[in-house]
């Protein structure tokens, strides 16, 4: 990546250090953003490889490749790696790159801590992945870690728990940094209600992170003490309750899924106006909708637990509260479509992914709404219907938004265009095969196939095979993504400063492509 242009030289504007130490010692938001994004891509491939083994084992009935115990380890680690290693770091990477440029700041507010937030991650994941090689293997109780099953984990248990602590520290520091940056580093005139939606969504996401990561840390700490220090939080024999863990976990876990989707909403809200050449429709209602979703996310957690035997009043309350989330989410969807309405649209790769996001995420939202209906969730719960739901929200939601964001901003970051042709190929392959991969899982779930099983009854064979084929093809298509990014960075065509005809925002209007090492050493005046 080339850096620092001559126009922005201030007294302590220094260029990057040389060699490897640059990346280890850096306090620069762009370097740290790059680190996050590269780390995330690696983790996406690691987690994806596990998913490929899962799909290969499920290709046909019977056990062919892996033992059931190892299968459960793969499911668990696939989810942990994807959620905490791929999707969350990718969004933090985007935040690092973009927030200072979008609000007219020289860097993040707390640059040293920014470095630490990142450099905890590789250590945390090294510890987690090392558990594969320990006696008893990796954790195998699902990413939800329900006791008492999780207590049957071998050596890996404390490593898992401490990994969660490390990731928690990392996320909390990252979130604090984002809040401090947004509250304290905006350029003069950049009022809160002028901030791009990506900044808004991250602002709200950061609050979610600070509020729930400590809860997750507390939950796993109790797992640790129950196993090694004799406490009985989750054991009825001592007056505790295994279900208590589920409450604490989902109090974290539900906001967690919105942590993975709100920044995606921000990305889409940036891309659609650009390619519709028309301002975002309903800016302020988008902000309020995001805030409502975040608020609601704290009071709906037990919709993951409809079958644990809650009292009737609890079931009803959590059903009503969960259904409510469809309202603000719907507002977002309608606003995106109104933004497109009577625009002048072109469909470059970022826009294609954004359009696919709107459709496919909404499909995931619909299945979410179906599961919110408690009596019917008794049938859906813990089946592949749910697996389909959350891959629609996470893969065609979060991951597609990340793809869109990378295609959209990569030319700005590097000053190089990617190959539009290959980008489109990547899009079409992805969008088709991701549906071959996950749509049939709705049928499997409705027909009665439970999740987290390595082998299944013969009547589920056909759709599993379709799903696996889609999975392999979708996986292979992602190699193309890596290739496209790599070739663009290495020697793509030069990008203009505006990059896209309809692009708006400080990063496109005021900064060259690539931007200088410190974006705004002199604050711009925002009108």
């Amino acid at each position: 990546m080339s850096t620092a242009t001559a126009t922005h030289n201030e007294h302590h504007d220094h260029g990057p250090e040389k060699g490897l130490m640059r990346w280890i010692r850096t306090t620069n938001h762009k370097d740290i953003g790059t680190l996050y994004l590269v780390f995330s891509l690696i983790m996406f491939f690691v987690g994806g490889s596990m998913a490929m083994v899962i799909r290969a084992e499920l290709f046909q009935p019977g056990l062919q490749l892996v033992e059931p115990g190892f299968f459960n380890q793969l499911t668990t680690m696939h989810a942990l790696v994807m959620v905490f290693g791929a999707v969350m770091p990718a969004f933090v990477g985007l935040a690092n790159w973009l927030l200072p440029m979008m609000i007219g700041a020289p860097d993040m507010a707390l640059p040293r801590m920014n470095n630490w937030s990142f450099w905890l991650l590789p250590f945390g994941f090294a510890m987690l992945i090392a558990t594969f090689f320990m006696p008893g293997g990796a954790p195998a109780a699902g990413w939800t870690m329900y006791p008492p099953l999780i207590q049957q984990t071998g050596m890996a248990l404390p490593f898992l728990i401490f990994t969660v602590h490390i990731l928690g520290i990392s996320s909390i520091m990252g979130a604090i940094n984002i809040i401090a940056t947004i509250l304290n580093m905006r350029a003069p005139g950049m009022t809160l209600m002028k901030m791009p939606l990506f900044v808004w969504t991250w602002f709200i996401t950061a609050y979610l992170l600070i509020a729930v990561m400590p809860v997750f840390a507390g939950a796993v700490t109790m797992l640790l003490t129950d196993k090694y220090f004799g406490t009985s939080f989750f054991n009825a024999a001592g007056g505790g309750d295994p279900v208590l863990f589920q409450h604490v976990f989902w109090f974290f876990g539900h906001p967690e899924v919105y942590i993975m989707i709100l920044p995606a909403f921000g990305v889409i809200s940036a891309i659609i106006p650009t390619f519709a050449r028309k301002p975002l429709f309903g800016y302020s209602s988008m902000v309020y909708a995001t805030a409502s979703i975040a608020f609601l996310s704290f009071i709906v957690w037990a919709h993951h637990m409809f079958t644990v035997g809650m009292p009737l009043a609890g079931e009803l309350y959590f059903m009503y509260a969960t259904m409510m989330i469809a309202v603000p989410t719907g507002v977002k969807v309608f606003n995106w479509i109104s933004t497109m309405w009577r625009g002048a649209m072109t469909f470059e790769t970022p826009m294609l992914f954004a359009v696919a996001f709107v459709i496919l995420f909404t499909i995931g939202g619909f299945s979410g709404l179906m599961m919110a209906i408690t009596p019917v969730d008794f049938q859906y719960h813990d089946t592949y219907f749910i697996v389909a739901h959350f891959h629609y929200t996470l893969v065609t939601g979060s991951v597609f938004a990340i793809f869109a964001a990378v295609y959209y901003w990569l030319p700005k970051w590097t000053g190089r265009m990617y190959s539009e042709k290959l980008g489109k190929v990547h899009f079409w392959l992805s969008v088709i095969f991701v549906n071959v991969l996950f749509f049939p899982q709705h049928f499997l779930g409705l027909a009665g196939m439970p999740r987290r099983i390595p082998d299944y009854a013969v009547q589920f064979a056909d759709w599993n095979m379709v799903s696996s084929i889609g999975g392999f093809a979708f996986g292979l298509s992602q190699l193309l993504f890596a290739y496209i990014v790599f070739t663009a960075v290495r020697g793509g065509e030069k990008a203009t400063d505006r990059v896209w005809e309809g692009a708006t925002g400080l990063e496109f209007e005021l900064l060259p492509s690539p931007p200088p090492y410190h974006s705004f050493t002199v604050a711009p005046e925002v009108k």
Partner: protein, 291 residues
């Protein structure tokens, strides 16, 4: 907002974070190894702790140095304030978990096991001998989790500790006022008093724990009462110890004459932390000891 931005301080590259990661990872993976009954874990932990402490001295040393050199403008100062404030909020959420667990046990799980509400069949079929009460002095399965023989009453040491901690909140505020009015000896005196009160609290808490373990069989392993009791008071005690240690650092810096009436963020940050620890204790006193 709307500060002149030209001189927002952006530090150069730094080694401290990576050392922090190495130290923390060594401590935690060492602990994990130790929990798996492999003695080498101890050495990993010690090594990690050394690295970590080195990192703390280095990092804070650098920051203190920069602060004394006047590198930070008021905008940087505000970033620090935001950082500390939201860090304390995350700590609040951490304690909220264990308070939540306490309420769940008291309001839901123990009554259910005793046959209230939806727990009729649970009680009748599985725990027909169990009597629900709080404090829980007879566990559902006393063979597995030996029941405590007694609890720590609120109006003994805990009440004294409440007075101690509340007065330490006052003394730290007095110290702050003294700092702002540049009364150095009053500042030193009140700060010293705060530190002493802090450690006195920890000392009394230790006595209480020993009593609970030795004479009452009130332990982490004595059922949900002991579990919630020690988890809440234990994490609180750790935070008091940490806060008191930070106060000691501030005290040393006061003796070195580091703070001025309008540049003493470190002092305030620790004072905030101390008030936070104070408020948590009030919650503990009310919900764990008293009612």
């Amino acid at each position: 907002m709307a500060h002149a931005q030209g001189d927002y301080y952006i530090p150069n590259g730094t080694n401290w974070p990576i050392l922090g990661s190495i130290g923390l990872t060594l401590i935690l993976s060492g602990f994990a190894v130790l929990l798996n009954e492999i003695a080498a874990g101890k050495w990993m932990m010690i090594l990690g702790a050394l690295v970590f402490i080195y990192m703390l001295f280095g990092w804070f040393g650098t920051v203190i140095h920069e602060s004394q050199a006047g590198t930070y403008n008021s905008q940087v100062d505000f970033s620090f304030r935001l950082g500390m404030g939201w860090f304390i909020f995350s700590e609040v959420m951490f304690f909220a978990v264990f308070f939540g667990v306490l309420f769940y046990a008291r309001v839901l799980s123990v009554p259910w096991l005793a046959g209230e509400g939806d727990g009729v069949m649970t009680h009748a079929v599985l725990w027909s001998n169990f009597i629900g009460e709080w404090p829980l002095l007879n566990n559902p399965d006393p063979e597995m989790f030996k029941s405590p023989e007694g609890i720590i009453p609120a109006w003994g040491i805990p009440a004294i500790n409440t007075v101690i901690l509340l007065s330490s909140g006052v003394t730290v505020t007095l110290a702050h006022w003294a700092l702002k009015e540049q009364k150095r000896s009053a500042l030193q005196l009140w700060l010293l008093a705060t530190v002493i009160l802090g450690f006195l609290f920890v000392y009394l808490q230790a006595i209480e724990y020993i009593h609970a373990y030795k004479e009452l069989n009130l332990t982490l392993g004595s059922g949900i009462y002991g579990s919630t009791f020690f988890m809440l008071t234990g994490f609180h005690g750790l935070h008091v110890t940490l806060g008191a240690t930070m106060l000691v650092v501030i005290l040393i810096r006061v003796f070195k004459g580091h703070f001025t009436p309008d540049n003493h963020f470190a002092f305030e940050a620790v004072a905030w932390y101390w008030h936070f620890v104070d408020v948590v204790w009030l919650g503990l006193f009310i919900f764990v000891y008293w009612i």
